[in-house]
């Protein structure tokens, strides 16, 4: 389902990164902070309430959105802006719970049917009222091959979406699918005016066409390559989330150093997703706060060839046991994060029972570094001297650290890893093109979930799934996940998902390394935000006001 592979990625290029690396070194040196020194951190759930409204504030984005068309909004830059402008049927809150959004309620009369009641009294930014017809038109776009929606996977089991009442939309599935409704809190559930969609056509959502939604901010202007400015929607329906700022401007600063400089000099008020190597200098500058919030991402090394030496689970275990993951975390992310042996974070186990959480996080194997055990496994598997290929790209500091650390760990137990460096765009094709993965054994990913359900992670590891990069196959796992996908009760579903997590932890189709919080910088002028990866879907900018 949903994933990100290149954290803060696509904007970065080899040339630009070399600058960033150079500055990072020189500034670290001048601050007297060694590169291995770890940073003190803790999760912040919310910041102080604003003392009042503010005229405007500025946020930096590491890249320009590709599009504000919700069908293509699938990456941090797109979603972090869109979340404030367009709204979905359900709302994904900063604690990763779901609550009613543009649908004031929903019903699930039978396993094949979802019925949404569209909220009354909501208007689009152009003043026209929200209707059930708008919802039908917006949702049907995901099924249209001409659109080529990035969120198609949420709709993969949908048979039809029709208006069945004045304010009622009925979605019929081809089979039971508990995940569909959970996806309605993300961009897959965004509702746009049907008239706007028809009028803008192919230009809908780009910098000339724009969007017309219902969120607390309206898109005012998009200066291509420079900035996007949103203005407050004074007619916003939800009193609790009326914007505290008259305007918010997103400026696109691709270069990490330029972004950090803009924050340090105060010319930009804030930014999500900081380059971790810059955290000490930002803290030292003392003008604003570096904050860390709830995340759903886990950094893992994907095993992309199970035909090769890594086809033997003992070799996969040995490799993970050989890794100094605390050291990797320290060097890659300044120690901001925690080592993990599973592929999900507790934040996506929202409604699971305590026993499911215990099974998923406590009753699992711990792969703390153990070279003796690792060497023993390699000997048992007869894998000494096996050749492996690891592909990486100059995307950010953690990519290079993890590639080198993996190679070193492999070497320490008698495996030979060749690290190949490719361009960021070539790297991204590893995730979409099976031919690009030929001859590749390992690559790194930071994978986040867009719905509050851990099953989203494990559904991509079923036999034959698009994102099951190593073609891993385990019949027991497939049966568990397929059954869980049809179960509406989150407690029962969670129990099965926990078993799937145990199998993945035992079988290691990917090697989990660590989970890291989402980072946020707030300058001295603003406050009021809840730091959370939900900033991709929740109107976080509306809550920001004067400090």
């Amino acid at each position: 389902m949903n994933r990100t592979f290149l954290r803060g990625s696509v904007a970065a290029t080899a040339g630009i990164l070399s600058i960033a690396a150079l500055v990072a070194c020189s500034s670290a040196a001048s601050n007297g902070a060694g590169s291995d020194e770890s940073v003190e951190w803790e999760i912040t759930a919310t910041t102080a309430a604003p003392s009042g409204d503010i005229d405007s504030f500025t946020f930096a984005s590491y890249a320009e959105p590709y599009s504000l068309d919700y069908a293509y909004a699938f990456d941090y830059p797109d979603n972090s802006v869109l979340a404030n402008v367009c709204e979905s049927l359900l709302r994904l809150n900063p604690d990763y719970s779901l609550s009613p959004g543009l649908a004031e309620s929903f019903a699930h009369p039978d396993p094949m049917t979802w019925v949404y009641t569209i909220r009354e009294g909501v208007t689009f930014h152009d003043g026209s009222p929200l209707t059930a017809a708008d919802a039908v038109a917006s949702m049907n776009r995901h099924l249209d091959p001409e659109v080529g929606s990035f969120w198609y996977s949420v709709y993969q089991n949908v048979a039809s979406i029709v208006q069945t009442g004045d304010r009622e939309v009925t979605v019929t599935m081809t089979g039971p699918d508990a995940q569909f409704n959970l996806g309605m809190g993300g961009s897959a559930g965004v509702i746009e005016s049907a008239a706007t969609l028809a009028e803008k056509g192919a230009d809908y959502g780009n910098s000339t066409g724009g969007v017309n939604c219902t969120g607390p901010f309206a898109l005012d202007r998009w200066e291509s390559g420079e900035s996007i400015t949103l203005t407050r929607n004074d007619d916003y329906w939800d009193e609790d989330l009326k914007a505290r700022s008259g305007e918010v401007e997103f400026v696109f600063i691709n270069d990490a150093t330029a972004r950090v400089n803009a924050l340090k000099s105060g010319s930009v008020d804030g930014s999500w997703m900081l380059p971790m190597e810059a955290v000490p200098t930002l803290q030292a500058a003392g003008k604003g706060d570096v904050l860390f919030g709830l995340n759903t991402a886990v950094g893992s090394v994907v095993v992309s060839d199970l035909e090769g030496p890594l086809g033997d689970v003992r070799v996969r275990k040995a490799l993970l046991l050989a890794m100094d993951r605390d050291g990797i975390l320290q060097a890659a992310l300044r120690g901001i994060g925690e080592r993990t042996d599973v592929m999900t974070t507790e934040s996506v186990w929202q409604e699971a029972s305590d026993s499911a959480r215990t099974a998923a996080f406590d009753d699992v194997a711990d792969y703390e570094q153990n070279l003796e055990e690792a060497k023993k496994l390699i000997a048992e598997a007869g894998a000494e001297g096996a050749e492996l290929t690891y592909v990486t790209a100059p995307i950010s500091n953690d990519f290079s650290v993890i590639s080198q650390a993996t190679a070193a760990a492999a070497k320490s137990i008698g495996l030979n890893v060749t690290v190949e460096t490719v361009t960021p765009s070539a790297y991204s094709t590893l995730f979409s093109d099976p031919s690009a993965r030929e001859g590749v054994d390992l690559f790194y990913t930071s994978w986040y979930l867009s719905s509050p359900d851990a099953l989203e992670m494990y559904s991509v590891l079923r036999t034959g799934d698009f994102s099951n990069y190593g073609n891993w196959s385990d019949p027991e796992f497939d049966a568990l996940v397929n059954e869980a996908a049809t179960i509406d009760d989150p407690v029962a579903r969670g129990a099965l998902t926990a078993k799937a997590q145990q199998i993945a932890n035992e079988q290691l189709p990917w090697l989990p390394l660590f989970e890291a919080p989402i980072s946020l910088y707030l300058g001295e002028r603003i406050t009021g935000v809840q730091p959370s990866v939900a900033f991709l879907y929740y109107p976080w900018a509306a809550t920001i006001g004067a400090r």
Binding site: R3, F5, V10, T13, G15, I16, S18, I19, L22, V23, E64, Y66, S67, D69, Y72, F74, D75, P145, E146, V147, G148, S149, F150, Y152, S153, A202, D203, G205, N206, S207, T208, E223, S224, G225, E226, S227, V251, F252, I253, N254, D255, T257, A258, N261, A262, K264, S265, S267, T423, P424, S425, A426, S428, T429, F431, S432, D433, A436, F466, S467
Partner: protein
Amino acid sequence: MTATRRVAGKLGGLLLTLFLASLLVFFSRFLVPGDPIRFLLRGRKPTAEAVAEVTAQYGLDLSPGEQYLRWILGVLQGDFGRSLQYRQDVTAVIGDRLPVTLMLVAMAGAIIVVVGLLLGAVAALNRGRAADRAILIGLTVLGAIPSFVGAIVLIAIFSVQLGWFPSFGSGDGFFDMVRHLTLPSIALAIVFIVLVAKVTRSAMVDQSSREHVEVSTSRGVGRWAVVRRHILRNALGPILTVGGVLVAGLIVASSIVEAAFGLSGIGSLLVQSVDRLDFPVVQAIVLLVVGVFVVMNAIVDVLEPWIDPRSAAGTGAR
């Protein structure tokens, strides 16, 4: 050869060069590994119908020859196709970013010409003396500074420490834009100043030792008049030639400076588009740069005889 025929000949050569360049620019994309559609989907899982539909929308299902024809006919009408990453007309994508790069190149060009000529001239007129040596050493040091290092140092001192200039963005309106682009244009100009100053110095040194200069001086013509009428004017040829190359070079070099200062110009767009396999944008920018390069050279060729009549007479100025 009359001047008209000369210009017509130049124009013909120019068009031929542009045509060949367009072939090279277009077909080189087929040598690059990677499928633009695969990249466009960025790891998403669309249906096969959706992939086919999107491929057709961008004309990627046609043969390379047909794709070229479609492209070049569009280009002749000012239509460079649609950007894959921005889902927007390439002309709009480039048009939004062109003013920044043009302004940056113009400001850098002005700095280069003024500072470069001045340093070169001062050095040449003080040949062998302390000022000459100081300038030569200074130029060597400057020439060793890559523009991205220059950019970092300038930002560190003038925007982060002193706060005199903004550290990113290109500003709104003329004066704000000048303020925003001051540091970037200096960073961009550094390397080229060295080039212009060195060419100026050696051309002027060369001219000063010419017989007619010595004759003029011995006849008691004032020193400044000699410099202006003989040395500088005759030295302009080589300086102008360098200038032609310089403009195209500046556009290309701007990518690094634009990235460092967070400017959205043609240079940073080119870098991004190459990385994202956004071929329509890459092709348009490369064609644009080649066009500027070819046109600048043609202008220099046409101007040269006007500045130095000897080259038109075919006696060879240098």
